[in-house]
Symmetry: C2
Subunit: 340 residues, 2 copies
């Protein structure tokens, strides 16, 4: 019997304040786990790097429990089945689910946590536009935001994995005007020139309020918020009658310890009879097929472009997470896990 392969694990060593680093996320080494009789052992190939992972590192109540100190960092990914005592998983299958930041994971049938990736699907697309990210854009915009034709739509984090898809779906669905907010001139150019946005605001160099007023002279019907903070406040202040704010994330605040300032312009929701609503994509799992069918079609027709920012190496996962907060990425951040 051969020795168990080496398993690297990135564990939460202490709760971060601000960015993560080697003190907060520590690389540990050990043997790969031994799957039980009805379990499968999988080797992680790709990690999906999402802002929400940072929120799980805080010791604060959330929609999932905080990651415990000493536990492997929780996160989604794609893995390959290397050993299986379970009929659902065959050696060589690609599966996706909550792999965690490690080389190997055990798939437990009872948990039903991993799905086999259908043949022919690009793993990168499966983690971005066809995966949780794309589904978040789809249901957030259409179900929570209830987009209607001719709406003026603004999305923040627009060059990110979710925001870039939000804007494109809005155009497909007949939005009158789609404006993205991003952090570099290159990203803004990409939104307008490649993705078909009607306009873009560079929040680092533009006067966001003034530029939005210029680009959205009739106000904002639907604001898809990925960032929170001052940009949320500005957009609340420019909502049109019956305007809607879809709360998807608040990335500008996730690195803050303790209370964060709220949007004083929330009072404008009274003036415009507006609505601000939060959602979690976990609630839409059973409706993924409906959205994926649309997304497949749009991809085939070339109506939706997607971009992945691939970072090499498991040990780069903390830096990859930090990229989301420095805005160093365009599109979905994915870690490609090398073999050690």
């Amino acid at each position: 019997m051969s020795a168990a392969p080496r398993n690297r694990r990135l564990v939460l060593a202490e709760r971060p304040s601000g960015m993560v680093d080697e003190k907060t996320v520590r690389l540990e080494d050990g043997p790969a786990p031994d799957p039980g009789p009805a379990e499968a052992l999988v080797r992680v190939r790709y990690l999906s790097i999402d802002p929400t992972i940072r929120t799980w590192m805080n010791d604060a109540p959330g929609y999932l429990p905080a990651i415990a100190i000493g536990d492997v960092v929780r996160g989604g990914g794609i893995a390959e089945v290397v050993k299986s005592g379970n009929d659902r998983y065959r050696e060589g299958d690609l599966v996706f689910g909550m792999t965690g930041w490690q080389d190997f994971a055990v798939v437990d049938e009872a948990a039903g946590a991993m799905q086999v990736l259908p043949a022919g699907i690009d793993p990168l697309a499966a983690l971005s536009v066809l995966g949780v990210t794309g589904m978040t854009a789809y249901f957030g915009l259409l179900d929570v935001g209830r987009l209607v034709e001719r709406d003026t739509v603004v999305v923040s984090g627009a060059a990110g994995a979710t925001g870039s898809v939000v804007g494109q779906i809005a155009k497909i669905k007949g939005a009158g005007r789609v404006v993205g907010i991003a952090g570099t001139a290159e990203k803004c150019a990409w939104l307008v020139d490649e993705l078909g946005f009607d306009g873009a605001v560079n929040y680092r160099t533009d006067n966001v309020g003034g530029k939005l007023r210029e680009l959205c002279p009739k106000g904002i019907d639907l604001y898809f918020d990925n960032v929170g903070g001052e940009i949320l406040d500005t957009c609340l202040g420019q909502l049109a009658l019956r305007g809607r704010v879809v709360l998807c994330g608040a990335i500008s605040t996730y690195n803050e310890a303790g209370p964060v300032p709220g949007p004083g312009n929330y009072r404008n929701l009274i003036v415009v009879r507006g609505r601000m609503e939060g959602f979690l994509i976990l609630d839409y799992l059973d409706r993924f097929p409906e959205a994926q069918a649309s997304m497949f079609g749009w991809l085939a027709e070339g109506k939706i472009l997607h971009s992945e920012h691939v970072v090499e190496g498991l040990e780069s996962a903390p830096d990859a997470l930090n990229l989301l907060f420095t805005g160093g990425n365009t599109g979905k951040v994915i870690v490609k896990v090398d073999e050690p």
Copy 2:
């Protein structure tokens, strides 16, 4: 031809910062206006004192234009027709509408601004529970808040004109638990002992967060917000899954000049998949009869109690408005306009 009667008018002399006083709202004197051929002259009998009047005094965009400097303070009231060249209004009729803070007003048919009060309706009830205030409670709770049976409901400004009705309708409609937030022990006792609330929090003496957690151990399903500020933030932090925040007013902020802090706990709307929505009762005018029919029934059955805080004298209107901000009232504040 007799001389026109004396007409006192309370005009906005300058924009207040904080409470109103004789510098910001000035009493002027002059002859009553002369109605045109198809118009009516009405003598104001009662003024409805509402927090929103204070917002109209600020030079800020709102759902109605700001009151212009030098104009009579805008406000609703009940008046008696004293002279009419219009078939819709007969001498002696009581009418309600936007009378303004003055002795006399001219009713312009084109504006269609005043409605004749049906016979047998108590004018005080017409301004409170059967009027805009009661309608605000009804549609805010049921239409915007979508109360469902067994909901845990929290209402702030609970001893005020709207809040006291919100809590009682919630009980009638099967809420599992109704908790009011008010500013004195007497008000809290009134809510529980007289109006049938399940609990009350004194925001001046209680730890609001701690007391709410004790009274609403499963979290808040529906928070009806009349006050804004820290209490809104606390309630957002204690929302239950799918919790709803109905934004009716933000009285704690109306006296503030410039930006006000926002609720940092808005992020909890993501965690609980919650919704925060504003509304204006103006949008529900055509549905008043439906709500008034219910309200009439509940009043007749003794299921809804209402309270009016009547202040004597037109010149007391500014002080009456200030009462709303010091919490000096229980129930609806009404000014009884004496004849000069």
